[in-house]
């Protein structure tokens, strides 16, 4: 049986008085591709940030890649990659400088930086400051940053939003192959096609958590009502 990559038991996270994640329980086996669906404010981003250790749970238990959060959060650093709304790169530096800096912090070989620059198709523009690049290019660089340490778990928050189809086709194998992936977004049909499990969030609770093939259109619509 596959090992568990993520296990949540009644996980809760508040934002002041508002409940962002409400008693969420789920179990994600290793190697799964999970589509995280829900309206804005349903808790998708909060969940992803919780799973990589940037947010700590206010209640319940969270275990990621065998380590309990937040007490063992140090153990998962570098093993979980996050591709979020912000690229998490410095606009004044070049792609190469950004990736080299991040590689130093992650203890990753410098050669991997060159490798990744090639894989995201940025050889020609990797020595220009980020502020000169288009959003699509920045997103590619951000993708390279996210996979630098070859994480076992990838958390993708609306990753293909700024990319053209060519860019998306280039990035997706890099991000998704060979890992457990959670990917959130607003294109339910596309996400359901590319995933094997689907999690539907509504007001911080799990409306459904089941194989993607079993999710009906009405259930998806229910999330957005």
């Amino acid at each position: 049986m596959a090992e568990t990559a993520i296990e949540l038991v009644a996980a809760t996270r508040n934002y002041g008085d508002r409940v962002a994640l409400d008693n969420l329980s789920l179990n994600v086996p290793e190697g799964s591709r999970v589509a995280v669906l829900g309206a804005n404010g349903a808790g998708k981003t909060t969940l992803l940030r919780l799973l990589c250790g940037l947010l700590r749970p206010h209640g319940g238990e969270v275990e990621v890649l065998g380590s309990k959060l937040p007490s063992e959060a140090w153990a998962i650093r570098g093993k979980v990659g996050l591709l979020a709304h912000e690229p998490m790169l410095y606009r004044a530096l070049t792609v190469r400088e950004n990736l080299t800096h991040q590689a130093r912090l992650l203890n990753v070989e410098a050669s991997r930086v060159n490798d990744l620059i090639g894989r995201v198709g940025m050889e020609r523009r990797c020595d220009e400051p980020l502020r000169n690049l288009s959003r699509g290019m920045v997103q590619r660089a951000a993708a390279a940053r996210a996979v630098l340490a070859d994480p076992a778990l990838m958390l993708l928050d609306e990753p293909y939003a700024n990319l053209d189809p060519g860019g998306a086709a280039l990035i997706s194998p890099l991000l998704e192959d060979g890992r457990t992936v959670l990917i959130s977004g607003h294109e339910p049909r596309m996400l359901l096609e590319r995933s094997n499990i689907a999690l539907g969030l509504r007001d911080g609770r799990a409306a459904f958590f089941k194989p993607s093939t079993e999710v009906s259109d009405s259930e998806v619509e229910g999330l957005y009502r």
Partner: protein, 240 residues
């Protein structure tokens, strides 16, 4: 959040009574018993208000720092509230201390402000620092971050209070040896006793006000959270 509600209001009435009694005693003593100080006259009696205010507010600031530290350690928001109330009450007392200090300075030395008095000067610096506490808190929207930043500030500022007093004293006494010590040292017994009673009364006042505010804040918070729970249950029930 299922924290067990802490009851701050216990004993509040008794405390308020004790405060009123002590302060009443202290200031009756001030007016009817203690002698007029030789060269400063009647206005010197403001000393019995100013110094207790100053001492209690400084202790309050440091208590706020301790509460902040506990909040950081335990993560329980109730300590953040305790820290907030302690600090903002102390700030009010500190304002009163500065005003009464100015009046006293005018009475003792003829000027509304003197740089020679290290305690007064240190106090001003501490006041300026803590005046930033509320603007800092309320300019951070995320409640988690607000609590945490406020607690870190409370700890740093609380640690700063004694440091600052030591440094200013070192600076001023280097040139002008006139200190609070020489004013309180050599006080006749009657003045010392009255002073201590006044100090006790002021401390009780602080604790009473603190408990009072904690109680009312706590009640308001619990009411709000019950309201929210009802609203959510209604919403969930409605769509089921």
């Amino acid at each position: 959040m299922t924290e067990s509600p802490t009851v701050h209001g216990r004993g509040l009435r008794r405390l308020a009574f004790a405060t009123a009694l002590t302060l009443g005693t202290a200031y009756s003593l001030v007016f009817f018993w203690t002698p007029n100080e030789a060269d400063q006259g009647f206005i010197q009696k403001i000393f019995y208000v100013h110094v207790p205010l100053a001492i209690v507010s400084l202790c309050g600031f440091m208590a706020g720092g301790v509460f902040g530290l506990i909040q950081l350690r335990t993560g329980k928001r109730v300590w953040d509230m305790r820290s907030y109330v302690a600090i903002h009450l102390s700030l009010m007392l500190a304002t009163a201390a500065l005003i009464t200090g100015a009046i006293w300075a005018k009475a003792s030395w003829g000027h509304w402000w003197v740089w020679d008095e290290p305690v007064l000067v240190s106090f001003l610096v501490v006041f300026l620092l803590y005046a930033c506490y509320q603007p800092l808190r309320f300019s951070i929207e995320d409640p988690e971050r607000q609590a945490r930043a406020a607690s870190v500030f409370a700890v740093v500022a609380g640690a700063f209070v004694p440091l600052n007093f030591a440094a200013v004293r070192a600076a001023v006494s280097y040139t002008h040896p006139r200190t609070l010590g020489t004013t309180t040292g050599g006080m006749p017994g009657s003045m010392m006793l009255t002073f201590l009673v006044a100090l006790l009364g002021m401390s009780l006042l602080f604790v009473t006000l603190w408990k009072f505010e904690m109680t009312s804040k706590n009640a308001r918070m619990r009411l709000a959270s019950v309201k929210r729970r009802i609203e959510r249950d209604m919403a969930a029930g409605g769509t089921a």
